[in-house]
């Protein structure tokens, strides 16, 4: 007779012996779960890749849209800000705007795709046993794959604006990692909530739009009037975007307090979103 934990370790999704029992608490054995998740990492990658491929299937410019899309988006916002600001902004502001916008888009795309990931994976969920977190995590991979080409666009503008290139720019690596972790947490959260409230995907574009405007993207954080400062302080994107801007736009070391706040948001969102999703995922097959 083996213990419950031993059996559970061999079971869950793959392997040769599966044991299915009611879970004592909402969460499946996390160790076994993560192992299964890791075993199927190819699935998340392949799903992200095919989604990207399908998005530009049948378009004349094809993969070129991966560069054109963010570039045009950035230029539209720049034009908007220029019109409102009576044209006194320079290339260095464009660099700030593009960097912040692309970083924001990494998070917002993860969330938008994440919201659809579980509900849109209906057949697969009804037919196959696998860790469902793969679906929202794959949305984050898609968003990250969309983010990578934007770095080329940014690099060009950075060069044209003659912004400094210093070793501090390497801070971008851990900051982007925090953005990805934060995006993953939010993606899992909305993916699970969407199963219960299908209205969410209707709200989402507006919520994300407001979030975009209230984040220091179309303006510098320093320009925010005193009375709106509290809004900035509760916005997870504020520490993340400001740190990223400090490191990349200005080539200076990000403030430790902001880095810590960003890390806190990222880990918090990841743990909360992950636990919520995993504790609910076994119900998805019934709810779809």
């Amino acid at each position: 007779m083996t213990t419950y934990a031993e059996r559970a370790d061999r079971s869950e999704f793959a392997g040769e012996v599966h044991v299915y029992e009611p879970h004592r608490i909402g969460l499946p054995p996390i160790g076994a779960y993560l192992k299964q998740l890791w075993l199927r990492r190819e699935f998340a990658l392949e799903l992200a890749r095919t989604n990207l491929r399908a998005a530009h299937y049948n378009t004349a410019l094809g993969q070129l849209w991966l560069i054109l899309n963010p570039l045009l988006l950035g230029l539209v916002y720049f034009a908007l800000v220029e019109i409102i600001g009576r044209g006194n902004r320079g290339m260095d502001f464009l660099a700030h705007l593009l960097l912040a916008l692309f970083a924001f888009r990494l998070v917002s795309t993860s969330i938008r795709q994440g919201a659809r990931s579980v509900v849109g994976g209906g057949r697969l969920i009804l037919n196959t046993a696998f860790p469902r977190t793969l679906l929202p995590l794959s949305s984050v991979l898609t968003a990250f794959m969309l983010f990578l080409p934007t770095l080329i666009v940014y690099a060009v503008v950075h060069g044209v604006a003659e912004l400094p290139v210093t070793p501090e720019i390497l801070w971008a690596v851990p900051i982007v990692a925090m953005l990805v972790i934060f995006a993953a947490g939010m993606s899992m959260l909305v993916a699970a909530v969407q199963v219960y409230f299908r209205d969410l995907s209707n709200f989402l574009p507006y919520a994300l739009r407001i979030w975009l405007y209230s984040s220091p993207i179309l303006y510098y954080a320093a320009q925010v009037p005193e009375k709106f400062k509290p809004v900035l302080l509760v916005n997870p994107m504020y520490p993340l975007l400001t740190s990223l801007g400090d490191a990349v736009n200005f080539g200076r070391e990000p403030r430790p307090a902001l880095l810590l706040a960003g890390l806190g948001w990222a880990v918090g969102a990841f743990v909360a979103g992950g636990l919520f999703f995993i504790s609910r995922e076994r119900e998805f097959a019934v709810r779809l």
Partner: protein, 276 residues
Amino acid sequence: MSSLSVSRDSVAELAAPFAPATDWAVQVENLELTYRTTIEKKPTLKRTLVRLGRRKRIVRTIEAVRDVSFEVPHGRVLGIIGVNGAGKSTLLRTIAGILPPTSGRIEVHGRVSTLLALGVGFKGGLTGRDNVILGGLAAGLTREQLAAKYDEIAEFAELGDFIDMPMRTYSSGMYGRLAFSVAVNMDPDILLIDEALSVGDARFKQKSFDKMRALCAEARTILIVSHALKGIRELSDEVLWMHKGEIAMRGDPKTVIEAYKEFLDVRESDVADEDV
């Protein structure tokens, strides 16, 4: 179907000798599965708010499976019959590990392949090829295993060039053919099939039936849910009749199917025997 009426026993002899089995492929102990569901098909915030405002809670508890216990020895074919809503599909999903049991225990020895809601193609915008690969990866197969299997799957499904077209362009028959082909070609130890004895046209139906018999002969364990009583009778070693979430009867195919028909009061009518 006359060409198929090789006696079931001769197939069974090839497959699993009727020796007392000591090892179960699937063991289900006191399985209960209840779930709570709202009546609304698509739960939305607005409806929830309206309902909360009226202090109404529309939660129904559905007892899909009630105290079910049975075993399937390795290499046996178990047919599961019963009227709509008897809990047959829920039972298969629980064995596949898709739905968690509310109480009781299931032990499955071997690699499981499922053909449940006719569903490889979960993304209509992607090609048949992409869907096959994604489905396989989700099921835990490696890329190498899939590459080795892929040609066999594509050939069996007979889709021709359609395999590289988006699945939304498929007819329902093509859909079913691909799904069936994936399930049976994944080299499963245990195959769970829900209502799939009848996909495609008459010729493919024949072909899939032959394939199923070949799988039975290879000593695979198969659980089939179907309303096609004739097919069930030919393929199964044992039949389980489920009614309202409980096992109404279990035993040799002929006896159970006769009893079930009596219950349905349809007798030997042609409609019931058709592979619907």
